[in-house]
Amino acid sequence: MITCEEFFAEFADYLENQVSPEVRKELELHLAECRACHVLYDSSCKTVKIVTESRSFELPQDVTGPIVDRVIEKLRTERG
C-alpha cells in the first residue's frame, strides 16, 4: 500500500478529479485503510463544496449599478 506521503503527493489532483484510474485505485486503497488521510480527504472535499457554494463576495446590483453609472458619467463629462 502507498504511504501517507505518497497519498499527499497526489492529493491536489485527486481533489480535482484528475488522476488516472491506476492512481485512483491506489489512493482509494489507502483511504480505506488510513483514517487520518480519510478525514483530510473528506473534510477537504467538504471545504471546497462549502466555499464554492457560499456565494461569497457577491456584489449586489444596487452597489455595482451606481459605481458603473458614476464611471460612465465621468467619461461622458470628460468627453464633453
Binding site: E5, I50, S54
Partner: protein, 608 residues
C-alpha cells in the same frame, strides 16, 4: 562532411566507449554532436535502453523496425547503418533488400508484419493511430509491454532520422538502394500532418496502455521532474509500464532540455511548441505553452507561437530559429546544410544550432510517443488551437488553404469581441455593457488582491476608468475578461504600493515555504452546511478567505468563488497551471483548517 565542427573527446567518454564495445565503432551520427557531449549522452541512454538492451521484443525485430522506418523516411544514413547491423545479425542482402523495398510479406510471420506496419503507420501518420490499432496488435499476440516497446522504438527511430537529416552525418557504410517513395504529398515526409476524421478522433481516447502507479518517492526521476516542473506530466506518468525505458528517457530529456550552455530554456521550449504545433500535436502544444508561461513568457506570446510564430513578438533571430526547426521537424527532405549558415549569420553559434537540431529531434520523439500511447492532456491547448488546427500548420493537407499570417486575434472567438470593437471605436454604451457584464469578476479580483472589500469597491472605479483609457491598446490576443483582470491587477498594485505594505502577489512560481501538513484531523459532520445558516457560512468563508496570504487568496477567489477553470485562472494571473494548482491546494488546505473548528463533529459550535 558533417555540418557541425567536431571536437576530440576523451577516449574514456563513456557513451563512446559503450558504442565501441557494442558495435565495434562510434557511429558518425554521434560523432557529429561532439560540440555538446551531453546530447550524445542523451542519445546513448535512449539507444542503449531501447535498442541494445534485451527487451520484450527481439533484437532482430527491433532492428527490422528501425530499418523500415528509416527506409520509409528515405534516410540514407540510418538505412546504411541499420542494414549493416542487420547483416551482422545474420540477415542476407536479399532479405535486407526485401525490407527496404517494403515487400517483406513472404519472409515475416504475420504477427511481426502487423507490428511493423503499425510502427510505419505511427512514424508516417501518428494522429491516425487509435486504440483499435493497439487492440489489433493485442489480437496478434503482443503483450502490452511489447506494444509499449514498439511505440518507444518507433519514436526513437523518428528521433534518429530527424537528427540524421539535421546533422548531415557521413555514411560509414556503402549507401543502399531505396525504393522511390510514393507519397500523398510530394516532398513531405512529415508523419504528423494529416488529421484524423472526427469519428477517428472520438476513438482516440487514451491512454491506450495501462500505466501502473509509480510513486515519486520510489522512482527518483519522478521526484526530480516534480521539483523542476512543479508536477509530473501525464506524458511521463503514462509510460510506467516500462520504468527502465522511462528512466532512460527522463534522463535524456533532462540532459537535452535543462542546461542553458547553448540555447536558453525559453528558446528550447519555443522550438518544442512550434514544431509540435506544426505536427498538430495538441497535447505537446498545451504542455509547452504552460512551461513557457512558467518560464515567464506572457501567455498570449506562447499562444501566438502555437498558431504562427512569425506574428509573435519574439526577436527576428528566434523566429528564424523556429523556421529552421519547423522545417527540419516536418519537412526534412527540404532541409539542407545551407540552412545552417543562415542561422550563423543571425548570430547563433554552432553549439546553439546543433542544440536546435537535437531539440527538434527530441520533439518528434515526444510527439510520436504521445500519439502512439494516446497520452491524455494535462492542460487545455491554447484557445482556438484545436478548432483551427487544420489551417494552422503550413504542412497540413489543409482543407482550408492557409492565407498569409495567422493572428491569434482572428481565431480566439471571444464572445465580447463585438462589444470591444464598438467600445474601441468610442461607443460608451458598448463599454458600459462590458463593464456591467464583468463587474462581479473585477470586484472579486480586487477584493482578493487588496484583501479588503471596502477598498475593492473603491478601486473598481479606478479600474474601469483605466480600462477605458487603455482599451485602444487591447489587441484581442487574450480574452477581454483576462485583459480586464490584468488592468485590475495594475490598479490594485498601485494602491498597494501607496499603502507601502505590498503583499507579494506573485513571487516565485513554485513556492514551498510553510507547512502544508494538516493539523486539524477530527472528522467533519456528514452535512456540515446544515449546522449554520447560509449567511453565517458566507461570513465564515469570506473571513477565512480574507485571512489567506494574497497569492493564495487570489487563486482561491478566481477558481473556487468565481469558478473559473484552472487554465483560465493561470492565464489571468500569468502563471503556469501547475503553479496555480500548488497555490490552490495551499489555499484550500488553509481554509480547511479555518473551517474545521466550526464543522468538526462532536464539537460545540462556535458562532462565526
Amino acid at each position: 562532411m558533417s555540418i557541425f565542427r567536431k571536437v576530440q573527446l576523451n577516449d574514456e567518454f563513456a557513451p563512446f566507449a559503450a558504442f565501441r564495445e557494442s558495435l565495434g565503432f562510434v557511429p558518425n551520427l554521434l560523432q557529429a554532436q561532439t560540440l555538446l557531449p551531453r546530447v550524445i549522452e542523451a542519445q546513448a541512454m535512449l539507444e542503449s535502453a531501447v535498442r541494445l538492451r534485451e527487451g520484450s521484443i527481439s533484437r532482430l525485430q527491433k532492428e527490422r523496425i528501425l530499418l523500415s522506418v528509416a527506409a520509409d523516411r528515405q534516410d540514407n544514413y540510418c538505412v546504411s547503418m541499420d542494414s549493416k547491423i542487420l547483416s551482422s545479425l545474420g540477415l542476407s542482402d536479399a532479405q535486407i533488400d526485401d525490407l527496404l523495398a517494403g515487400n517483406s510479406n513472404a519472409a515475416l510471420p504475420a504477427a511481426e508484419l502487423a507490428c511493423l506496419q503499425f510502427c510505419l503507420n505511427l512514424s508516417r501518420n501518428a494522429p491516425s493511430v487509435s486504440s483499435q490499432d493497439i487492440d489489433a496488435l493485442r489480437a496478434c499476440g503482443f503483450g502490452d509491454e511489447s506494444i509499449f516497446e514498439a511505440v518507444f522504438l518507433t519514436a526513437f527511430a523518428v528521433y534518429r532520422c530527424t537528427l540524421s537529416a539535421g546533422l548531415g552525418a557521413d555514411l560509414e557504410f556503402e549507401p543502399r538502394m531505396l525504393a522511390p517513395k510514393i507519397m500523398d504529398q510530394p516532398g513531405r515526409v512529415a508523419p504528423h500532418g494529416s488529421l484524423p476524421h472526427a469519428h477517428e478522433a472520438a476513438q482516440r481516447k487514451g491512454p491506450y496502455l495501462p500505466a501502473p502507479y509509480l510513486s515519486p518517492i520510489a522512482f527518483t526521476p519522478f521526484a526530480i521532474v516534480e521539483k523542476s516542473h512543479g508536477f509530473i506530466p501525464n506524458f511521463f506518468r503514462s509510460q510506467t509500464l516500462r520504468p527502465d525505458l522511462l528512466e532512460a528517457e527522463m534522463e535524456a530529456v533532462g540532459r537535452i532540455l535543462l542546461p542553458e550552455d547553448a540555447l536558453t530554456r525559453v528558446q528550447k521550449e519555443c522550438i518544442l511548441l512550434a514544431v509540435s504545433a506544426a505536427n498538430l500535436n495538441s497535447y505537446c502544444v498545451a504542455m509547452h505553452c504552460n512551461l513557457l508561461r512558467g518560464l515567464g513568457l506572457p501567455s498570449e506570446e506562447g499562444d501566438q507561437v502555437a498558431v504562427d510564430h512569425h506574428e509573435s513578438k519574439l526577436p527576428e533571430s528566434d523566429k528564424a530559429l523556429l523556421d529552421f526547426a519547423v522545417k527540419l521537424g516536418t519537412r526534412p527532405s527540404e532541409f539542407s546544410r545551407e540552412d545552417v549558415p543562415k542561422l550563423k549569420a543571425l548570430g547563433f553559434t554552432e553549439e546553439q544550432i546543433l542544440e536546435g537540431v537535437v531539440v527538434t529531434a527530441l520533439n518528434n520523439f515526444a510527439n510520436t510517443l504521445q500519439m502512439g500511447l494516446g497520452i491524455e492532456p494535462d492542460f487545455a491547448p491554447p484557445p482556438g488551437f484545436e478548432e483551427n488546427k487544420v489551417h494552422l500548420s503550413g504542412a497540413a493537407p489543409a482543407p482550408m488553404q492557409r492565407e498569409g499570417a495567422v493572428h491569434l486575434v482572428d481565431i480566439l472567438q471571444d464572445t465580447d469581441a463585438e462589444l470591444v470593437a464598438q467600445a474601441q471605436a468610442g461607443q460608451l454604451e458598448a463599454f458600459e455593457e462590458l463593464v456591467r457584464k464583468h463587474s462581479q469578476l473585477i470586484y472579486r479580483a480586487l477584493v482578493a488582491m487588496l484583501g479588503n472589500p471596502a477598498d475593492a469597491q473603491d478601486a473598481m472605479q479606478d479600474a474601469f476608468l483605466s480600462a477605458f483609457k487603455h482599451i485602444g491598446g487591447f489587441q484581442g490576443r487574450s480574452k477581454f475578461s483576462t485583459w480586464l483582470v490584468s488592468i485590475s491587477r495594475n490598479t490594485a498594485l498601485q494602491r498597494l504600493r501607496a499603502r507601502k505594505n505590498v503583499e507579494s502577489l506573485d513571487e516565485g512560481e513554485y513556492d514551498e515555504e510553510g507547512d502544508l501538513r494538516p493539523h486539524q484531523l477530527r472528522a467533519w459532520d456528514d452535512n456540515p452546511e446544515q449546522c449554520c445558516s447560509k449567511s453565517e457560512i458566507r461570513q465564515l468563508v469570506e473571513k477565512g478567505i480574507l485571512q489567506l496570504p494574497a497569492k493564495y487568496r487570489v487563486v482561491v477567489m478566481l477558481r473556487d468563488i468565481e469558478q473559473l477553470s484552472t487554465d483560465e485562472v493561470a492565464r489571468q494571473l500569468e502563471l503556469s497551471v501547475p503553479a496555480v494548482k500548488v497555490r490552490l491546494l495551499r489555499g484550500r488546505l488553509m481554509l480547511r483548517e479555518w473551517l474545521s473548528p466550526h464543522f468538526a463533529a462532536n464539537l460545540r459550535r462556535t458562532a462565526p
